[in-house]
Amino acid sequence: MSEVRAQDQAAYDAHAVRAEFPVLMQSLEKGLRPVYLDSGASAQKPRAVIAKEREVEEQYFANAYRGRYSFGARIDDELEGARTKIAEFLNAASSSQIVFTPGATAGLNMVAFGWGRRFVQAGDEILTTLMEHHANLVPWQQLARERQAILRFIPLTSDGRLDSERLGEVLNERTKIVAVCGMSNVLGTVNPIAELVRRAHQFGACVVVDGAQSVPHLTTDVQQTPMDFLCFSGHKLYGPTGVGVIYGRSERLEEMDPILFGGHMIERVWPDHSTWAAPPARFEAGTLPIVQAIALGAAIDWIRQHGLDRIHRHEQSLLRDLTTRMQSLPGMTIYGPDTPHKGAIVSFRIAGLHPEDLAAMLDRRAVFTRHGHHCTMPLHDLLGVSATTRVSLGAYNTTEDLDALLEAVQFAFQKLRPTQRA
């Protein structure tokens, strides 16, 4: 407790945090330091996470839930320890509500086809938004086609927020599923999940939250906000690739069908049929990404050690600073709402500079951003552009990173502006 209080009082030292990430401490060609502004795609890993992966591989790796020998027992403890850490991080009532998956995409598909296929009937409605990542849109399209259900979209405001006032137009007793991201990976919009859950539950709808972007930046409390399912990925949470999580309310997990069948997920197998183990094992057929799942536990420890609230405040302060500085650039359009309604993502276009050219110029300054449609084609259609440039921030970004970005944008102006013939 006293540790937490002391931590709250100490100023957040982004340089010290950055120094925990070996990949960011390198010196690149021409003495440039990497300015990593693509955490929304994948965050970098602190030394503690890398060390944990190494520890497992070098000291006690074995398959999980199988060996009675000492390595196997240690692996089981570590894996269940990671599950418990994740449950605590989300304030889940029990670690049995935490299912390890290969990632957010896999989790959303498992919910769509494990829960949705069982409960969605012809004529039912699935409510989602046009700001979803394809991972939280395409599975619902497929389910809707298969079940002859209807896909509907919560209207957006002109600045890219969900229009709560118009929610009544699309939410009704036919709504079976509401699938929404906690935070948009392009606009940065933080969605009012608590309100959505409350209103969706009035109609008995099941709320599936794509937490891929929100879980790394905002405190998630699954009891205070009783969403039905929450899916996210480890690699955006300073953890490894290949592992993710489904959190599910116990009664929802109980009634969800597995979509992968095989070892570990069964209770008893006969030649012609089988019965299933209880969740979470029911949804964890085959060998898990053991090392990655354990290291995800270390990533959660790392986040809790620094405090997600403090990381969030730091990111928001960088975000405000960045937004102000970017808005003063000529021809700048930033997509999405103002800073109080969004997390640490800025997607933009600069008139006369193509995102692809801009990204190449920024790369020459070792400023790593992302450009394209960011797996949100319908959103880009809505915005009326084929591509945007996206800057996404993480715990390790500093004011110097923003300086480097702004300097690199000036460099791009110089090189790419039509009047400036080299």
Partner: protein, 145 residues
């Protein structure tokens, strides 16, 4: 610019920064594609940036050569298009099918500098040009008495 001149200049350049500037300059000098050719059916898919491409057989030449015009909304892509057009300049369908574009781009180190999706776009363009060449070839074979 002719391909050999282009390569000569390019290979003088010492790093990616200079090469990138050179490509941008080539892009700026790319002959414009007529506005009416910027149509959806001339768009090459697989690009993060948009590429428009037209191909026609220039029957005034003997043997007929393939006339290619292209444009992109991104300058660097326009530069890459300029390289491609130099490699295919005034070539017959047979010559086009025999041109080793992958080898050329590898020689220029551009396979590495390009993001995979951008490369797909470029290779998508190559695919279209090659299939046009193959089609005109089989058409001309059929018209031979």
């Amino acid at each position: 610019m002719k391909l050999n001149e282009l390569l000569e200049e390019y290979e003088e350049l010492s790093d990616w920064g200079e090469q990138c500037d050179f490509l941008i300059d080539l892009g700026r000098d790319l002959p414009p594609l007529p506005e009416e050719d910027h149509t959806d059916c001339n768009i090459v898919h697989g690009c993060q940036s948009r590429v428009w491409l037209t191909t026609e057989l220039d029957a005034a030449m003997d043997p007929p050569t393939v006339k290619i015009q292209a444009d992109s909304d991104a300058l660097i892509v326009k530069g890459l298009i300029a390289v491609l057009l130099a490699a295919y300049a005034e070539k017959t369908p047979v010559d086009i099918l025999e041109t080793d574009i992958t080898g050329l781009f590898e020689r220029m180190g551009l396979h590495r500098q390009l993001s995979s999706s951008r490369r797909n776009g470029l290779y998508g363009m190559v695919e279209r040009i090659r299939s046009f060449a193959a089609r005109s070839l089989s058409a001309s074979v059929r018209t031979v008495p």
